[in-house]
């Protein structure tokens, strides 16, 4: 039997839930990778992908709740989920400290996602053995 070399992945999601398949595909990939013994170091949300980190998405109960499924998966597997701060602020995704900084009326980052800079993606590019991108298409 061929030996499989184990990889550690950074996953980058740039497609939003409910307007693209990217978060679902990325979640299926992440589950399959971990089941096969690989490691997911970090999930980085960029561009439209930051909508996955919203604590305010509330799809109908007979539909998949992608933000909830992703956040559970990250917590269960102790994987870091990071939304790019510039992408997030443009699109109305803010945490407590950004709410205070910009004097906004609310914050809406779903745990365990955090907001951080592109440096997190750069670090992933430097340290993970593979970086995979899940785009929204077009």
């Amino acid at each position: 039997m061929a030996t499989i070399s184990l990889q550690n992945y950074t996953l980058v999601i740039t497609g939003a839930p409910y307007s693209s398949q990217a978060p679902q595909t990325a979640l299926s990939f992440a589950k399959a990778a971990i089941a096969a013994g690989h490691t997911v170091d970090r999930v980085f949300l960029y561009g439209e992908g930051v909508h996955l980190a919203s604590s305010l998405s509330a799809p109908p109960s007979d539909e998949h709740h992608w933000a909830d499924q992703w956040s559970r998966f990250l917590s269960d597997n102790a994987i870091s989920g990071v939304a790019c701060i510039a992408s997030a602020l443009r699109r109305g995704l803010v945490n407590d400290s950004e709410q205070k900084r910009y004097e906004l009326p609310a914050n809406n980052i779903r745990e365990p996602f955090i907001i951080a800079g592109l440096g997190e993606w750069v670090e992933g590019s430097m340290t993970s053995s593979r970086v995979l991108y899940f785009h929204g298409g077009d």
Binding site: Y46, G47, A86, S87, L118, W121, V122, S125, Y133, D138
Partner: protein
């Protein structure tokens, strides 16, 4: 070696290209080798004297002109796409290397990334 950020989206109408440029600047800020390849409708980024007041957006030209200063190693333009969109050296920003064979440019890099 290094990362090649591919911009295949036009400069206005989507933020994907702008966010790809941010990714490239971010790699450069961390001293990671990075170059940009403009292809498809993305070559329109390279058009000189972009006038954007009518669409209420900032011109991307200033951001782009900072790329080489901030440490982006090269700006490549796919020659076929340039021909298709009527781009010639006279109506393009300076500092762009024309790539007759984009596949070869891609082969020269270890990481290839799109913003979206």
């Amino acid at each position: 070696m290094g990362t090649l950020m591919v911009i295949d989206q036009p400069p206005y109408g989507t933020w994907a290209g702008r966010e790809a440029l941010d990714m490239a600047f971010s790699l450069a800020a961390f001293d990671q080798p990075v170059a940009l390849l403009f292809t498809g409708a993305g070559v329109n980024w390279l058009r000189k004297s972009q006038e954007t007041t009518g669409i209420g957006q900032k011109s991307v030209e200033k951001n782009l002109s900072a790329a080489l200063i901030f440490g982006v190693e090269a700006l490549y333009a796919d020659a076929t796409a340039c021909a298709r969109y009527g781009l010639v050296p006279d109506n393009m920003v300076t500092g762009v290397a024309m790539a007759e064979n984009s596949a070869e440019v891609i082969r020269q890099h270890s990481h290839i990334a799109f913003a979206g």
